[in-house]
């Protein structure tokens, strides 16, 4: 026969001080767990959303990122005529890009961060459909003008509309702010590739990557085959979205390993807290439990009842933990990305599935913390326990 649930509610109420300690312990653990995972998820999502399945990214053979790549103008010309590339009114939808790095101070600390500066072709907005200008206008090719991503606009100093900033050996005017939908481009600065390379003392016939809009998502294979078998070229062709997914691996591994260990250690601490609460609950209630046993409730029902109580505490803890960190959702932070050495702004991303994982994690801690005390409760010898004061 099962012990009524109201019994558990009332007993938690009667011992609310120790219950609060256990709830707080579990809430804290779940909070850290969810926060760390959402950080890793946000970082990955930012990079993945930078890539589109409709675009192909072409870099030099063997290059691990745009930073280590180089594609000459002669190769760009060959790529433009390759099969599978979509065409717009002004020719093939291809942007050959020079990727550079500029030290620009962070607003928060005043210290320099590496900002990615990208020289893009004028038709870039037709190729990267997710990017649109939200303030000002697009830069004019041939003029020393730049447009900045919305995160770059708020994270670094001097990148406000109308301001002039030195990049390389030239002064540039900020004429627009673009929104790239929370992707890595939002941390970048875009301008005319020929002027940018000149300002950086680089040949303007040399680019880091070529991004091409595919005529259809399936067109990647013919394009890849054509380019990789061409003896004049030495390039790797990847779908843009796959390239960016790969760029996120090192940082997400770091966050999940370090964060995971902190959450693991905390989980042990929280289980200890739950054990303490439940053991003292059992010790306090020796007579109560014995009375129930004497009334005819079996050992299994006592174990079950105590487990329910532990689950109740851990469920509340898990829920509170999730609620506490929910505010972090969408909060933007930034760090250096190992694979490009550049600074990247990204937001915490708390998804419903992450919250469910957090609550499940809490319940597991509850079961671990409740099981042994429950078994002890069931094993109490009825006669001696009843005789206790």
């Amino acid at each position: 026969m099962a012990i009524p649930l109201t019994y558990n509610f009332r007993s938690v109420k009667a011992r609310w001080t120790s219950a609060i300690v256990a709830v707080a312990g579990i809430a804290g653990t779940v909070g850290v767990f969810v926060a760390m995972l959402s950080l890793a998820k946000g970082f990955r999502a930012t990079l993945v959303s930078s890539g589109s399945p409709d675009n192909a990214l072409i870099v030099r053979g063997g290059a691990t990122s745009e930073m280590t790549s180089g594609v000459g103008l002669d190769s760009v010309k060959i790529i433009q005529d390759a099969p599978g590339i979509a065409r717009g009114p002004n020719g093939p939808l291809v942007t050959a890009e020079a990727v550079l790095m500029a030290p620009i101070p962070l607003r928060s600390t005043g210290t320099d961060a590496n900002v990615e500066v990208r020289g893009v072709s004028p038709n870039v907005l037709e190729i990267r459909k997710g990017v649109r200008i939200v303030q000002g206008r697009m830069f004019t090719p041939g003029l020393a003008e730049i447009v900045v991503g919305k995160n770059a606009n708020t994270t670094y100093s001097g990148l406000t509309l109308g301001n002039t900033i030195g990049l390389g050996t030239m002064q540039w005017k900020v004429v627009g702010v673009f929104d790239a939908g929370g992707s890595a481009f939002d941390s970048e600065v875009w301008g005319d590739p020929h002027l940018l390379t000149a300002a950086y003392n680089r040949p303007d016939t040399f680019f880091q990557s070529v991004t091409a809009r595919l005529s259809s998502p399936e067109a990647l294979t013919p394009l890849k085959d054509a380019l990789t078998t061409d003896p004049r070229l030495n390039v790797d062709v990847t779908r843009e979205i796959d390239y960016y997914a790969k760029q996120s691996t090192r940082m997400t591994t770091l966050i999940t390993t370090l964060g995971g260990f902190v959450a693991f250690v905390m989980a042990i601490g929280a289980v200890f807290g739950a054990l303490n609460t439940m053991y003292s609950a059992v010790a306090d209630r020796g007579r109560e439990i014995a009375t129930m046993r004497a009334l005819g409730f079996g050992g299994p029902s006592v174990v079950f009842s105590f487990l329910i109580e532990a689950l109740l505490i851990s469920f509340v803890g898990g829920l509170l933990g999730c609620l506490a960190v929910l505010r972090l959702n969408g909060v933007t932070t930034s760090t250096i990305n190992f694979q490009t050495f550049s600074n990247l702004a990204f937001a915490f991303m708390i998804t419903p599935s992450l919250l469910v994982e957090g609550v499940v994690f809490a319940m597991v801690m509850g079961v671990l913390g409740g099981f042994f005390p429950a078994v002890r409760a069931a094993r109490l010898p009825v006669a001696t326990a009843l005789r206790e004061l």
Binding site: G28, G61, G62, T68, A113, A199, F261, V265, F272, I336
Partner: protein
């Protein structure tokens, strides 16, 4: 210690509680040590930076290369003891996951600027003679089970995607155990022969050693002025400022992990301390009995304190032992992402100090209360 038996009896009166309290201390200490090693790993570059070294980079950005002729011009500036140059090779060994830094070094001057890297003379001489020679740090060699004489293929990412083969001629160690032993050095001459013409006769950055560290500001200024208005203007900083530039960019990740962990550590200690204090308060009437039968106030306080300190001490030691066991595993999991996670003695002692402090505080407060309480009141509480 005539009260030893009594203290032990009190300690073990509730075995489960004892285990849980000691365990909580241990967990707090594991967390503390973990945070300390992560923090030191994030800032390793700054900690190791030589006070007498300056780094010269192209003002335009780190990725821009400077002419090799700058070496002699920098060396001519008064106060400069030695100059060397490096390049970032950025190759891939077998798989991208096996990341480690590869530097193209200038064999003539490297040892004068970096005396902390020690290579046996016979190995160094072989390396200098061997164009395709390479030297690896001891930790790096251990990671991939390399030994002197091995041939190591590395695929370049910056210079065309070809595979370059190197002969491992030597292994370097550092004087300090926490030194960076994860680098891979190849020779600038070999590099210069094989790279595309735009990269020939260049240096990625210059490192110079000063006669006197106090000269840093003057020399840095002199260098930057010398190359002002040239096609490659320079930016000269101390090595620690240069390292901090990288360390700071981790910025928020480091801050988040440390702040969350720090809050957890202190909460854990407070909760544990509170549990211990409660277990003393429960026994107030017992302490009253002890006083009634003639124990002095001081010895009652001593009993309570000894118990709390014993719990804190054992918990602390257990935690540190667990941390010593766990850290190498975590360090292996983040190889290539962070410098090796290393425990240091001051860190361990600081952690133990925290534990003992909390133990003392959580015993002292209820202990003093018990000491001051009048016997009659204490007995009436039961």
């Amino acid at each position: 210690m005539k009260f030893r038996k009594l203290i032990f009896a009190n300690l073990f009166r509730k075995k489960v509680r004892l285990i849980l309290t000691v365990g909580s201390f241990a967990i707090a200490l594991v967390l503390f040590t973990f945070l300390a090693v992560v923090k030191s790993a994030f800032n390793r570059g700054v900690e190791l930076a030589g006070a007498d070294r300056l780094i010269v980079v192209d003002r335009v950005g780190l990725m821009n290369l400077m002419p090799i002729s700058y070496a002699d011009k920098i060396a001519a500036i008064p106060g400069v003891k030695a100059v060397t140059h490096d390049h970032w090779f950025g190759g891939v060994y077998q798989d991208e996951k096996n990341f480690f830094p590869q530097f193209v070094i200038d064999v003539e001057n490297h040892r004068k600027v970096y005396p902390e890297f020690v290579v046996p003379d016979d190995q160094w001489n072989n390396y200098v003679k061997d164009r395709q020679g390479a030297i690896a740090g001891a930790k790096l060699a251990e990671r991939f089970h390399w030994k002197v004489g091995d041939r190591i293929p590395i695929k370049t990412t910056l210079y065309g995607g070809a595979i370059w083969e190197f002969n491992l001629d030597g292994i370097y160690h550092t004087e300090k155990p926490d030194g960076d032993q994860g680098q891979f050095w190849l020779q600038w001459k070999y590099f210069d022969e094989n790279v595309p013409s735009v990269i020939k006769s260049t240096a990625g950055w210059y490192i110079l050693r000063l006669d006197n560290p106090d000269d840093a500001v003057r020399v840095a200024k002199a260098i930057d002025e010398k190359f002002a208005n040239s096609p490659h203007e320079t930016k000269t900083e101390t090595e620690s400022a240069f390292a901090a530039y990288f360390a700071k960019q981790f910025g928020n990740i480091e801050f988040l992990i440390l702040s969350i962990g720090g809050v957890v550590f202190f909460t854990l200690l407070l909760v544990t301390g509170n549990t211990m204090a409660i277990s003393v308060r429960e026994r107030t009437s017992e302490l009253g009995v002890l006083k009634a039968i003639g124990f002095t106030d001081r010895s009652v306080l001593f009993l309570v304190l000894a118990e709390s300190l014993a719990i804190a001490f054992f918990g602390g030691v257990l935690g540190l032992a667990l941390a010593i066991l766990a850290i190498p595993g975590i360090s292996a999991a983040v190889t290539g992402l962070l410098p090796p996670l290393l425990l240091s003695k001051p860190m361990l002692l600081l952690g133990l100090g925290f534990a003992i402090f909390v133990g003392a505080a959580s015993g002292l407060l209820p202990g003093i209360g018990a000491m001051r309480m009048r016997v009659v009141n204490a007995l009436r509480r039961a």
